[in-house]
Amino acid sequence: MTTPTSTKPDTRPAAAAAPGRSAPRRWAPGAGVLVAVALLMFVPAATDSFYTFVATRMLLLGLLATAFNAVFGFGGMSSLGHAAFFGIGGYAVGIGVTRWDWSPGTVLAAALAAGALAGAVFGLACLRVRGIYLLLLTLALAQALFGLAFYQTEWTGGDNGIPNIPRDGLPAAVREGDGYYRLTLVVVVLCVALLWMYQRSPLGMSVVGTRESESRMSAAGYRPGALRTVAFAVSGAFSAVAGVLEVYLQGSVSTASMSWQISADVLVYAILGGARHFFGPFLGAVAVTGLEVWVSTYTDRWMTVLGVVYVVTALFLADGVLGRAASLLRLARTKSGAGSGTSAEART
């Protein structure tokens, strides 16, 4: 992939390699994730309340990035409009709770439904569009929704947004601080697990198939258009959940939750972490969020530092941190085991 002219970098789906693995190596990642989740339960105990807050945001942005990747990394469609879904989830909380006194369960259901619906609309609108045009079309759609949110002040409060959203509906134990962190962790783990299962399901695999070769999938009797729409709907629904978590955390929602910068940020999370790997985008979200908080503590020029990180990412980590790590690992393995010929690692 290092040749500058190659248009498609590593196109091998990470998931597709799984059947070739031996049993212990297949279970190792799963066990690792379990251990990681168990450790994450102790974050509030190990750090102060501020870091717990930051960790909460990392988790929900991680979910956003993972949901985004269902379209981006696995669906092969570069969206620049995911702020729309995130914002829809946020406004589901803001409008639902302040107007109709919705319970968190109702909010969640509404956000899932609205996110899925918006995702399906995006997917349908993008049926004929590929590559850069898809990027710009999703941007235009999200900006149109932003325009709606900005001017329908009756509903959204416009740029000032909806302040003081009550959290009374949540059980007292998880309403704020450490409790809310644990609630977020549970919801995020659940959603990520569902996304994992979706990605491994025949449905998710066939979406990957359309990414690889639309014509073959269509010849095999699949309907790529429908598959793409489904991918967008799934992605939209879980992105909206991330928005719900964010707004319950902040207690307010405004048009800033729908600004195109969020769409750009999440794209960078995915690329930086490694879009070909299920956990790559999550890792990217955690890394960038942490970096922002850390650097801005020391200098006002944190935007410049962020810019440098973006440039370095594009030049050296086009496959993401995980992609880089995986290729280094492969390199090390081929060197050490050059004689034994590990054919399972060969690319097809």
Binding site: P4, T5, S6, T7, P9, S78, A125, C126, L127, R128, V129, R130, G131, I132, Y133, L135, L136, L137, L139, A140, L141, Q143, A144, F146, G147, L148, F150, Y151, W260, A264, L267, V268, I271, L272, D300, R301, M303, T304, L306, G307, V308, V309, Y310, V311, T313, A314, L315, A318
Partner: protein, 287 residues
Amino acid sequence: MLTWLTHTVNGLAYGSLLFLVASGLTITFGLLRTVNLAHGAFYLLGGYLAYDLASDGTDYWIALALAVLAAAAMGTVVQRAFLHYVAGRELPQIVLTLGIAYIIGDQILANYGGDPVAPQTPPGLEGPVTIGDWTFPKFRLVMIGVAIAVAVFAGALLRFTPTGAKVRAAVDDEEIARAVGIRVPLIFLLVFGFGTGLAAFAGVWGGAFTSLSPDSGFDMLLLALIVVVVGGLGSIGGALLAAFAVGLIDQYGKVWFPEWALFTLYASVAALLAVRPRGLFGKAVTR
């Protein structure tokens, strides 16, 4: 009656500004397949440099020329040092140019502060011109002419000059172009420098039109993207027509239903793209 004439001509003038920004973007995209989100940053860079030089007492036209050349030079550096290595890969290009846009915007904020600045109106073009009962700003009227001139000039450059022929050859089939001795990397470098130079020129003139602040780069970028996409990526004529169309729609939209202006603009662009994915005049990409 005269009011409508004013609205129409002003729509065209605003469209001309959009075209000046979009022209560089459509050239770098259409010819290099480079998605340059730093385009707005080069717009800012040109405007601020010219403003800086002119306020130090440099002659306006010299300041303009220096700002455009400096931005073009910086554009070629960015192309050679960074974009060159991610040629043909859209996603890294987006991340890279976004990063460069952040850096340039933040450095402008650090060096010039956040208060808005306005490069001066070109000498001789200040104030309104009056024809009968009709009054219109001279500068805006000239802007329409300049936009058309830039479109003709850039179009002719590509179509009728040997360099233009080389550029087209390099774009159509890079390998063959290399084989027949065209120095493709050099060509790409020139084209990118030309594109960023155009952005800087738009910044100097557009800055006089709308003033500049470290954040206005992204505002202009989004509008320019719309124009480029509607016109069809890579089509200069398409961009000009699209810019005029967007300018007029924007103008009349603001007069008729101002509260829906933001929504209607983006929604109609989205609808157009969903139906005509290549925009109005875009060629099918043979890749």
